[in-house]
């Protein structure tokens, strides 16, 4: 079943489309571009949602200020990269700055009300209200756009044939290189998180903490320190995603809510606390959003929502949830 689907997808991507198929669902270029847009968006969503789900998985903290962390990361990255002229430096500073902010949040706010889910949720809502307002005060309502470094700029030709002209010349599909880079970063981060969680000592502690926090503490591990570390990584990833996403799309007030919603839906669909769930959820939602946008514009949002309802109806704990 999965093999057949994969074969059909591969054929759709690499084959030259016959006329009847073009008549049925439009030009191949639209399809392939939409597919890549969906994958890129999924990569971005994964970057934001993986931090969110990591924090929830270990600490049961629902950080509804996660979208604000994304937006703040974007603004900080913008300031640093425009002033220093180095985009990479912007990415690094945004990650570090947000990791520090995340650690402070954990120590100052979450540790005080550990185990009180509702209060934590409400507090993060309060924080996100204030953060959104202060960011509006600092950066105004304008939309900011980054320029990626020259090495990542421009379009590349994919080894995918769009159409074969009557003359026999093959037209290849072109795609912005930076967007492929976003996808690459998401895969690198995903693999990195997997190695961190499954192949290192810290990862072992984190996994143990997810399953049984008290037992981990009883074995002599400083759980508080692990909590701070995970919160820092999660928040840092949101900041990193802010710069990466701000470069691919843009940064403006309101993006915080958009990415918070995306993270929520991704982890609801994929299963709270699971990194692989976040990857699956991000793929589903990213592709659904872009295909919805391309093929039935008004109802793209509804498609996302439908996926969520179906998952909730069949598996309330999410696809990879325990």
């Amino acid at each position: 079943m999965a093999l057949v689907a994969a074969a059909i997808l591969l054929w759709l991507v690499f084959a030259v489309w016959p006329d009847w198929l073009i008549d049925a669902i439009g030009r191949k270029k639209t399809f392939v571009t939409t597919l890549f847009n969906g994958l890129t968006l999924a990569g971005l969503y994964f970057l934001v949602a993986s931090g969110f789900t990591l924090i929830f998985g270990l600490m049961r903290n629902v950080n509804l200020a996660h979208g604000s962390l994304y937006l703040l990361g974007g603004y900080i990255g913008y300031e640093v990269s425009t002033r220093s002229g180095s985009w990479i430096l912007g990415v690094v500073v945004a990650f570090v700055a947000l990791a520090v902010i995340g650690a402070v949040l954990q120590v100052v706010v979450f540790r005080r009300m550990q185990g009180d889910d509702l209060r934590q949720t409400l507090v993060t809502i309060g924080i996100s209200i204030i953060a959104a307002d202060l960011m509006l005060a600092a950066w105004g309502g304008t939309t900011y756009q980054f320029t990626p470094p020259d090495a990542l700029f421009g379009a590349v030709e994919l080894p995918i044939i769009s159409v074969v002209k009557a003359s026999g010349a093959m037209v290849m599909i072109k795609y912005p290189f930076y967007r492929l880079f976003v996808l690459g970063i998401a895969i690198v981060v995903g693999v990195g998180l997997w190695i961190l969680l499954n192949r290192t000592r810290i990862g072992m502690m984190i996994r143990a903490g997810v399953d049984d926090r008290e037992m981990l503490a009883a074995t002599g591990v400083n759980v508080d320190l692990v909590f701070v570390l995970v919160f820092a990584i999660g928040a840092g990833l949101a900041g990193l995603a802010g710069v990466i996403g701000g470069t691919a799309l843009s940064i403006a007030p309101g993006e915080d809510v958009r990415y918070l919603l995306a993270s929520l839906v991704v982890v609801i669909v994929g299963g709270m606390g699971s990194i692989s769930g976040a990857a699956i959820g991000a793929l589903l939602i990213g592709l659904a959003e872009q295909f919805g946008l391309a093929y039935f514009p008004t109802y793209g949002v509804v498609l996302t929502f439908l996926i969520m309802i179906v998952v909730l109806a069949v598996r309330p704990q999410g696809i990879m949830g325990k």
Binding site: D117, V123, I130, L261, T298, V301, F305
Partner: protein
């Protein structure tokens, strides 16, 4: 049922009657601005907050989609009533449109409940938030039904017995009737078999299920009831404003409703109304204290303060104060 109603009415403490009389007399010393923009508007926001309080206070279910139910009711009024956008606007009579709007809002809330009760706690907050944001984006993008970004304007107000319901005095009393009616209904429901069952599902859903009740049915019915309250507030809101747009059901407003209910207090149905009054007063007069642009910072900070220091909201604060003033209380009921 009737005996229960009589018992509820006779059980009302004198202080409430005094408050009611004061509220009835309020428009006479007050000007139009205070009557409508402070008084009536607080009651509308309080009603939407009450919708959340019914779910959160009695059922332990925090829903961020109650404003959306109110907003959909407002949209129904715009679509089936009269609007000036030349989109839809069937011009039906108010006697049909208002109940239809309330029915749609109720149905929506019940549907949200049907999905949301599959989960609980923080999951429910996230799912209802996701639903609220999805409806917001959908309304903003859909031009056939929701008229997209602009929404609807120029929605006419009903005239009952020749009285324009948007005029300050009639509208104030209309809102007051709505607020008092649903406060009374909530007080009545609290002690009814359904209300007790709902509170039991909050405290121990397993035991309620073991007793043979359907926890899902009780919770979904609570969502429907909360939907009636929210949808009525939505109809009042559209009478007041004469317009509705995606901004009406924006996520920031939905969060405001949560702030109102939590700041007021979720333990008693009057809490959301107190929260709404505080919110509206702050919204209108905070400009005198600080820059209007930073209103959200003030609101957010007030919200954080309340959560940190008085988890039961303003009502909890009041309770603490009165406890401190009269520390020795003669017990009125024996403990065994």
């Amino acid at each position: 049922m009737i005996a229960g109603v009589v018992k509820t009415i006779s059980g009302v403490r004198p202080a409430w009657w005094v408050a009611l009389v004061l509220l009835i007399l309020f428009p006479f010393p007050a000007n139009d601005f205070f009557t409508v923009q402070i008084g009536a508007y607080s009651m509308i926001l309080g009603l939407i907050g009450l919708s959340l309080m019914i779910l959160a206070g009695y059922g332990g279910m925090v829903s961020l989609a109650q404003l959306t139910a109110a907003g959909l009711a407002a949209y129904v009024v715009a679509i089936f009533g009269v609007n000036s956008n030349d989109v839809l606007g069937f011009g039906w009579s108010w006697w049909i449109v208002a109940p239809l709007a309330i029915a749609v809002g109720t149905l929506f809330s019940a549907l949200v409940g049907l999905i949301a009760v599959r989960t609980s706690g923080i999951y429910m907050i996230m799912i209802t938030l996701a639903i609220a944001v999805s409806v917001f984006f959908f309304a903003r993008q859909n031009y056939e039904v929701f008229n997209g970004f602009t929404g609807y304007a120029g929605i006419t107000a009903p005239h009952i017995a020749g009285v324009d319901m948007r005029a300050p005095l009639p509208f104030y009393y209309l809102s007051l009737i709505g607020a008092v009616f649903f406060l009374a209904v909530t007080a009545f429901v609290e002690g009814s078999p359904f209300g007790l069952a709902l509170q039991a599902t909050r405290d121990n859903p397993r035991r309620v299920a073991a007793l043979g009740y359907s926890v899902t049915a009780i919770r979904v019915f609570a969502f429907a009831l909360a939907g009636v309250v929210a949808a009525t507030a939505g109809v009042l809101l559209v009478i007041l404003n004469g317009r509705v747009s995606p901004g009406t059901i924006g996520v920031d407003v939905a969060i405001d409703i949560l702030v109102i209910a939590v700041v007021g207090g979720l333990r008693h149905p009057v809490g959301p109304f107190l929260g709404a009054l505080a919110f509206v007063l702050l919204e209108n007069f905070a400009i005198d204290l600080i820059d209007r642009e930073r209103f959200n910072t003030v609101i957010g900070a007030a919200f954080l303060l309340v959560i940190f220091f008085s988890p039961d909201g303003l009502l909890g604060l009041w309770q603490k104060l009165s406890d401190r003033i009269k520390p020795i209380q003669t017990p009125t009921k024996s403990e065994h």
